[in-house]
Symmetry: C2
Subunit: 445 residues, 2 copies
């Protein structure tokens, strides 16, 4: 009868071809909508803002914790306010962890970070509504403070989870905008800075069989290739100068002869052009690299259209998969700075250098994920990752780590991120199948 | 006797060698101090701020009007709040006008503008305390709103004084920062915008025999040459784009391949470097020119160190003594913009072009001033003027016009302007002698 067939189809739709429960993509879609509504400030053109240890991030953590409790998951919040939500597995042994971060850049998009956490929630909800359990304990991780725009430091939440956040960072690292110290921000979110200072880890690498971070692709590669998802082979490292400046001398724009000028705007322009030329040259020699001056600003109070600029503040971000290339770029920067200081009679103050090391993903874990994707008739493209992610910290702690990239139009870190739920579903299905067979399995029994 | 000799010396000190009364430099010094105190905001490192039609300018006008009334000068305030203070002369005929402006750039210096008005006050006070009268009526002019940083329009006060301010400017021109329309700002200062709209002039060119604007030099030429004062031969014209921008696309700094970027920061940097190269080339060919990008700013809300810049706002100021050179520079700009738009996949929006025509000073008036300076054993160096001044408007209205530059260290439009009162006194003595012999005189009788 029609009714019975429909019921059977409904039941079948709750299982993936290999028998794993279908992920609860509809729940994820509702949660994306709730996140957009509650962290968007009512101005769609401004995107969403989920400040690290600020209101938007706090709201996002409350939303996912509510859903995890609804499914009966065990919720643990560590000293840095990272949230770990665990569903009991069928077998003992190290857990599978799926997760990402819930903060965003200012005026960012709804998917960067959140997609990884909600993919874990969708997988867990799939098991929950099917009345099934994953092979191993499944922990969905919501990591704090991944977007280094806010505190000018990388991987705050994940480093703290491994007891690796330096105590001095709590005091010296300030949030952009409100200049609140990191420690004070963590305390205001309910964290325990004394435990962080003591270096007490929340996570034991030996207890985690695999960490998988699903994330929207932040570049145009998958969209250009017509692929829904990709498997990341490695994560770029970086060096950054977030608070660099060039000091010249303010002077009248019409009355200061060319050879008397100390023009900070011209000097910084020359530096930007020089570093772009260095990038072009090194890329031509086969180096992986990216150079970005994302912020360039004359002084709001002192600069005027009729004055030579006496000061320009700027940021510089250099990334590469290869530590040696970062060293070459650092040398190019030093040479350009010295050359331009002499030519323009200015001083550069690059300020502290921050950054992160490149990280390799786990080949065996990638092979397993690629095999599952192929078995399901899908296709997960291997690709490098240009941006830093918490997955790098898990990999550097010796945990077999992978990232699944999800196709996304318009890049990330802007209001126009455009992930399709169909592509998100591809990643969630892959994860559900992986959780069902368990880490290290070599294929269907 | 000693007492008598001292008294005679005092009396002699009140006269210049040619018999003109010594200017009251001590009064000017007290007024500079009062201006610094009352328009400095209590923060010396921020210099002074006398906003056009704002509080600081209003205070300055009150101070000089108070002094003029004390001397019994006739005070007239026109529809644009320009202040004309007149001391009766010995002879009939067109007046001598000495003056400048009393506004400043934001966080500017105490002398730019004010030195010209206080030189006139010092000369008038010299005549007043000596019980003498100048040859012709002496009008000290305090012009409004000369610093185009505020309203993005040149010579607002002096154009209004000649009935040449366009009515639409009252509505469309907004003050930087508070975005108050020019007309509203004039009205709040007590002006009569209806009269300005009707184009009613306050000044009759036929009634002004000479306009002389004393002003600190805004460049380093006199200081470098060891001269106290200079005589300006001509005033540079300009073209400006005060609200230009470059539009690219925000994108993740690590995940966006080089050939997908639309980097507005790189594009503007290339434009700055290209226009500097054009300046270098044209200067080498003998062109008089100055190119300044005084403001260059990524978006406060959208830019981040980890994002390719999607937008950069900037200002451009190009100046020359020669209209033809401005045309060449304009063509260089257009070519660079087109080239960089294609190379960087961005769009430049240069916005409206404003500017001013070059203006020649009056040769006969300059000759008279040079002869008086030489007769007094001094030396007034002839020199061009790189900046725009109200004197250009007086010259363009057919009034014999001159500018006296006063040596000044550290440039202008910054808190570190450093005019010495000894140099100011040289300019004031020259003016007193000129006022005593009257315009067009060929030498001592």
């Amino acid at each position: 009868m029609t009714g019975t067939a429909a019921s059977q189809a409904d039941i079948a739709a709750d299982r993936l071809p290999g028998g794993a429960p279908a992920p609860d993509v509809a729940l994820a879609a509702r949660l994306f909508d709730e996140l957009r509504l509650r962290t968007g400030g009512g101005r769609p053109e401004r995107g969403i803002t989920r400040t690290s240890y600020g209101l938007g991030e706090q709201i996002a953590h409350e939303i996912v914790q509510r859903e995890a409790r609804r499914m009966g998951m065990r919720c643990e919040i560590d000293a840095a306010c990272n949230l770990f939500m665990t569903m009991k597995g069928r077998e003992p042994g190290p857990a599978v962890m799926i997760g990402s971060h819930l903060d965003s850049v200012p005026a960012g998009g709804n998917f960067d970070g959140a997609a990884g956490v909600l993919a874990g929630i969708a997988v867990a909800s799939g098991f929950h509504r099917a009345g099934l359990r994953p092979a191993r304990d499944l922990t969905v991780a919501a990591i704090r403070a991944e977007e280094s725009t806010w505190f000018g430091a990388s991987y705050i939440g994940s480093r703290a989870a491994f007891g690796q956040l330096a105590g001095r960072e709590l005091d010296t690292v300030l949030r952009s905008g409100d200049r609140i110290p990191l420690g004070a921000a963590i305390a205001s979110a309910g964290g325990d800075t004394a435990r962080i200072r003591d270096g007490v880890p929340q996570l034991d690498p030996a207890a985690i069989a695999a960490f998988i971070e699903p994330h929207i692709e932040q570049g145009p590669v998958l969209a250009g290739a017509g692929r829904a998802i990709g498997l990341v082979t490695g994560i770029r490292g970086s060096f950054r100068h977030r608070e660099a400046r060039c000091e010249g001398a303010y002077a009248h724009s019409g009355a200061t002869p060319r050879d008397h000028r100390q023009d900070a705007a011209l000097a910084v322009a020359r530096l930007i052009v020089a570093m772009d030329e260095a990038w072009q040259k090194l890329a031509g020699e086969g180096h992986d690299m990216a150079v970005t001056f994302g912020q360039v600003t004359t002084d709001r109070d002192h600069a005027a259209f009729s004055k030579v600029a006496g000061r320009v503040d700027f940021s510089l971000d250099v990334r590469s998969e290869d530590t040696a290339t970062l060293d070459v770029a650092r040398a190019e920067l030093a040479a350009a700075v010295a050359r331009i200081e002499a030519a323009c009679n200015v001083r550069f103050r690059l300020g502290p250098e921050t950054g992160s090391r490149p990280a390799r993903m786990d080949p065996a874990l990638l092979d397993q994920l690629a095999r599952i994707a192929a078995d399901a008739g899908g296709d997960a493209r291997p690709m490098p990752c240009g941006a830093g992610h918490d997955a790098a910290v898990f990999a550097q702690n010796g945990i077999p780590t992978a990232m699944i990239f999800i196709r996304n139009e318009n890049g990330s870190h802007n209001p126009f991120e455009a992930m399709e739920m169909e592509d998100f579903a591809e990643a969630a299905k892959l994860l559900s199948a992986f959780c069902d067979e368990g880490p290290g399995a070599t294929g269907p029994a």
